[in-house]
Symmetry: C2
Subunit: 407 residues, 2 copies
């Protein structure tokens, strides 16, 4: 597998665009399209929130019932969540507008929204936006970037990634984009992520690969513990690489999964590191756990702890809060046996062993914690299972952004 | 039941004091004693965190194994958590020092600590402090206030409450104090709370009453989702009211439970409203739930949501976040059927019904949310079970306090 430039338009046959539709923001792109020249098999995972936004209900239906998907229309500014029947009818109208402009069936159009909950979409502007997008769309990498920019809300930077690998001597490409900064939490936590590939792969196997991978990628990040009503990951495979079909239990499937994992993990980490108000990506790696599930629970508990997140912001080696977060995770362990380390590009330091603090230097620890990517390494000394979770620090700006998000 | 002034010294035979021991702070009281002239039956609940501070381990042993308790020594500044065998030995030394000065058995002395995790106590200063406290202790209400002040950490005000009621024509008094501001979360979330009563009641019945009541009081508050290593509630009953013994399944027991509930709920709400950096007490009342447990889970989910807490701080009627928090709580419901209201002393307003926002006035909602005590009322329309949870808003100051707590 080789990392390459680009995002949703990296793979063959995918086009994209971003456009200004004036939904809520002024003077910025706020709608995007991702389009495939050939119909795609689809896989998707969606929010586990009981309160599901209209576009989530729409996309679940398309992913489950339609044999193929071909276009996604995305808007930022309004989430189309808690909008009742009227909100759902706007998904239908958006899809119909796209279907008409593109000459494809309405049931192959997916929709996604992000922004304020509870407001109705200005559907006329959405329909105008759809027409604009279908005219603008291109297969260039620049067009993919335009789309990635258009779907941002409180994100401070657009997020995309791409990779390529070979299947039977044929180059296959996979790429993705996402947005997400607030309302990010385990249980399909992305807000919105779109992955495109030209691989030839069945819907069943694509679904399996996605399902296996999200538990270690998107479901391992948290910005604020709030699982959104709109979380959506869509993966589209159009087969235009014309590789020999990827089959289960083959080295090619493993290669595909490695590339998918790279895309998903990269996008997930980008979201965590760009958490609302964040100044640092905060990673927690648990090793030596007795089970994989325990490793996941423990690592997520640490990155979700408000007190720990505030300490990371303060570059304060307040390791007691980490131990505290492990302790209330629900996993049983012996606090006297585990070991804690801080790690970053500035170095690595052991801070806790045999039930007490090591004789570490506060100055050195503070220096490690001042880096933009900080890792807490936890050795449970109970087995050989590992997991990694990603979050961010808790800052004044998180409060500022969220005390005044709607205005 | 009648509310009265005072705290831990309101009930007959209880003495208290606060003193400067120079543990971590300068020029403030940082140690307290609560002492009963007669041995007390004890009940206690403690943190569910796997990582338990040394004083928690000590007190669990005393509550479970000693027939009586007679004194509690409390210090602020250092939590004596994650301090290994050395930390536990300091509990023993503290208890021995108190036992010697008071002429009571060491196993009837309880200890409690709050503050930074991972540091060892300066045991010499603690021992000196114990001697000071035993000389200073008095049965006056003022002495109770001194104790309540001495146990504060990031609290902005001391917290105490008292009430009296009659059993067989005899006046019985109950009072309490607590501290707690950060690291407050369901599952025995108090940090430290001490309740004293002169009631004649058996240890078994006292334990039952406390156990039944904490699930609706201390376990229903959260400031930041971090369950502390030190959470402790101790209830001491010395029998000096000389009432006819309170027996199970009697009106007198119900009267006692009502008074205990008033004390516990008052202390719990004081902690939530004085959450680190808080400007408002944020209450969520769930009515019409199908089960009590669901009502509890739903109400706690709302008061724990960082996004909702930030919106309360901004006086922003961002009700979608409330619906979102209900939705990810794990309880199943139909979002189209439930109703949401905001309430405060400024009024009451319905904001959500039939799956969409009502036509409420943003200005009016904002005015309601600007009060120092704000309630979200959720009607689930599924049954007749209710629960109330208490938290606080999320502010810049929460971040400030916790990014720099140790320095």
């Amino acid at each position: 597998m080789k990392v390459r430039t680009g995002g949703v338009t990296a793979a063959k046959g995918f086009e994209a665009a971003g456009a200004e539709a004036g939904i809520k923001y002024k003077n910025r792109k706020d709608m995007a399209i991702v389009y495939s020249r050939r119909p795609c098999v689809l896989a998707g995972t969606f929010t586990s929130n009981v309160v599901k936004a209209a576009p989530v209900l729409w996309d679940k239906k398309v992913v489950e019932e339609s044999p193929f998907g071909q276009a996604v229309i995305i808007n930022a500014g309004i989430a189309n969540a808690c909008t009742g029947k009227e909100g759902y009818s706007y998904c239908d109208r958006t899809a119909k507008a796209a279907a008409k402009a593109l000459g494809i069936p309405g049931e192959s159009v997916l929709v996604a929204s992000t922004g304020v909950i509870g407001m109705q979409l200005p559907i006329d502007r959405i329909e105008d936006g759809v027409v604009k997008l279908t005219k603008l769309k291109e297969a260039t990498l620049a067009a993919g970037t335009q789309a990635a920019e258009a779907i941002m809300t409180t994100d401070t930077r657009s997020k995309q990634v791409a990779a390529e690998f070979e299947v039977g001597g044929v180059k296959v490409t996979i790429g993705g984009m996402c947005k997400g900064s607030g309302m990010i939490h385990p249980n399909m936590c992305t807000m919105l992520a779109f992955v495109t590939t030209d691989a030839v792969i069945s819907k069943e196997l694509l679904t399996k690969a996605v399902k296996e991978d999200v538990v270690d990628t998107f479901n391992m990040i948290s910005v604020d513990g709030d699982t959104s009503t709109n979380d959506t990951l869509l993966v589209m495979a159009n087969g235009m690489a014309e590789n020999p079909e990827i089959k289960d239990n083959t080295p090619e499937y493993e290669e595909f999964k490695a590339a998918l994992h790279y895309i998903n993990e990269s996008l997930a980490k980008m979201m965590a590191g760009d958490g609302e108000g964040a100044t640092a990506l905060f990673e927690t790696k648990v090793i030596g756990a007795d089970t994989k599930e325990h490793a996941r629970i423990l690592s997520k508990s640490v990155i979700c702890s408000s007190l720990t997140k505030a300490a990371i912001y303060g570059h304060d080696a307040n390791w007691g809060r980490i131990l505290c977060a492990l302790g209330y995770s629900g996993v049983q362990f012996d606090p006297e046996k585990i070991e804690l380390f801080f790690e970053s590009k500035s170095g690595r330091i052991q801070i806790y062993k045999d039930g007490v603090a090591t004789n570490y230097s506060e100055e050195e620890a503070s220096k490690i914690l001042a880096d933009p990517e900080v890792t807490v390494l936890v050795d449970m000394k109970m087995g050989d299972q590992t997991a990694t979770a990603w979050g961010c620090d808790l800052t004044y700006d998180y409060v500022k952004i969220n005390a005044d998000y709607r205005s």
